[in-house]
């Protein structure tokens, strides 16, 4: 098992290099000179040249890439142009806030999806099945940033029940586990969970339906096993597929939370990325993208490994 995980990790190295190349290229996709973001347009040419030399922008691109890669591998992501603080610190703080939201949304989406999907698969009446199918359709079709605004309108503007933005009470720095902070989490968590809810509900429903039609279920029924015990067998068989889909969704949720974080002014990676884009803070843009992409890769790897652990039928090829 460990060997399998290690081998998969080795396979990731070329992909990781490709990712780093793409992230490096982000700076050079930007219009104009990368140096133009930090110097005023009327700066004398000598100053610009000095700065170019200082940052290594005068070297050929392959050399620049290797230098950047070497520095980045040591954990040095450069300095934020906007705040002057190290990019690594900024990204780490924001990442923590994003993860908190992502875990909450994943738990909410997954538990609801398992309940709804199982109910739909078991449902004798077509109404329940139709209703669940409709819910999952809405989940995958709704623009989640719009849903976030609608939630704010209903629960903050009209009802005044929940705070519309921020991570905690005013002047709060960072997240803590207490009432006011949890209240701030409710709306973003719901808004963030709709897409995974829709996708996973679909998967759970179709997987369980398929398993219910298998012969071993008929055999268990004929044997006189109670419905509850049969459900356990069914869930166990459905788990690998559902876990895999949920894992992918969880990763997308972390990368995709930028819109939700913007609506709720949640100080996570998405919010950081958004402000970096508008300040043309390219080191932050690079650092955040790189960290999120690596997290996504690792998460996908973990999902694969867990899936093969849960399901011995999958060959570890």
């Amino acid at each position: 098992m460990l060997l399998y995980a290690l081998r998969r990790l080795v396979y990731l190295i070329p992909v990781a290099l490709g990712v780093s190349l793409l992230v490096f290229a982000l700076v050079h996709l930007a219009p104009g000179d990368p140096i133009s973001a930090i110097v005023p347009p009327d700066a004398p040419k000598e100053v610009v040249d000095k700065l170019k030399e200082y940052y290594g922008f005068d070297k050929p691109l392959p050399v620049q890439y290797l230098r950047w890669l070497g520095v980045t591998l040591t954990g040095d992501f450069g300095t934020s142009i906007g705040t002057g603080r190290p990019v690594a610190t900024e990204v780490a703080t924001a990442f923590g806030n994003t993860i908190i939201l992502a875990i909450a949304a994943t738990l909410l989406a997954f538990s609801l999806a398992v309940i709804l999907g199982t109910a739909a698969a078991y449902a004798k009446s077509r109404i329940v099945d139709r209703l669940v199918t409709f819910i999952s359709l809405v989940g995958v079709s709704v623009p989640h940033f719009w849903l976030a605004i609608v939630l704010v309108i209903i629960f903050s503007v009209e009802l005044g029940a929940l705070p519309p933005m921020g991570i905690g009470p005013e002047n709060a720095t960072g997240w803590r586990l207490d009432g006011p902070h949890l209240a701030h989490m409710v709306l973003p968590t719901i808004a963030l969970s709709v897409i995974p809810l829709g996708v996973v509900t679909r998967t759970v429903r179709s997987t369980i339906k398929e398993i219910l039609g298998m012969e071993f279920v008929t055999a268990l029924r004929a044997k006189g096993m109670s419905d509850g015990r049969i459900l356990l067998h069914v869930l166990k068989n459905a788990a690998p597929t559902c876990l895999a889909v949920m894992g992918l969704q969880a990763g997308n949720l972390i990368g995709g939370s930028i819109l939700i974080e913007t609506v709720f002014a949640w100080p996570g990676t998405g919010f950081l990325l958004n402000s970096a884009i508008f300040r043309r803070d390219l080191p932050i843009l690079q650092g955040t993208t790189l960290v999120l992409a690596f997290f996504f890769m690792m998460l996908n790897l973990a999902v694969d490994v867990i899936q093969t652990m849960v399901d011995p039928r999958i060959k570890r090829g």
Binding site: A16, L22, A30, V142, I149, L273, N300
Partner: protein, 301 residues
Amino acid sequence: MALQTPSLELGAPVMAPAAATATRGYWQSVRRRLARDPVTIVCAVVLILIVASSLAAPWLGLADPYKTSMIRRLNALGSPGHLLGTDELGRDMLARLIYGGRLSLFMGVTPVACALLIGGLLGITAGFLGGRTNMLIMRTMDVFYAFPSVLLAISLSGAMGAGAENTLLALSLVFIPPICRVSESVTTQVRGFDFVDAARASGAPSLTIVRVHVLGNVLGPILVYATSLISVAIILAAGLSFLGLGVKPPEPEWGLMLNTLRQAIYVNPVLAALPGVMIFFTSICFNLMSDGLRAAMDVKA
């Protein structure tokens, strides 16, 4: 906004030496199945109405979508002369919502069409040639797969700067890998069928095999998959505009309208939510239509 790659399995392959007549039979049955599917028909009609009204907007007798009015800002729904009220600059909402369909739909459909062309070509090439070419193409795609799709779109268009062209480019790049993967997997399946071997044994050149035997069998599943991406693309394009990365003001576009109307949620909340309703409806219709097509074309997801 989840780009999942479904493991597409082909339905019954279009198998017959006289491919032309057999194909017609298949499409006929697809059409028959579609005609008996009320949900798909309703969605298609709604979509046609949205597209047609946005294209015909100048001739519908609507107000000027760009004309601002300082004294008529944020009028409520149903106010005289403005059926759906006015936005934060006093522009007519009904006109902006209908005109907005032009850019919103264009920004959603174009990237998928581009990705279909490029990704499909790459995927079919990789699947048909196999070997090193396959390795090279598919491993390159793996790099793009290492990014969550929304992150990739935002980082790319964020680096390139705001603007509709950059959004289109970024979104096309986001959708090429999934379409390429699906195309590769169905092509690899088709390549293994006996009729391909038979054609090769009878001396048919590769291009003919691709044109007659491969394309006929893979285009259906690839198209169905691409239609399922349109709703994602529309939401993502609107999302980029919502962040200020896509279409620039004062153009009417649903995502951008949601952004600028956010300041109005305390004054006129219903108005502020309207553009999202348009995105939601369009995306639901595309999703349902894609499901209907999948069922009618017998592509298992």
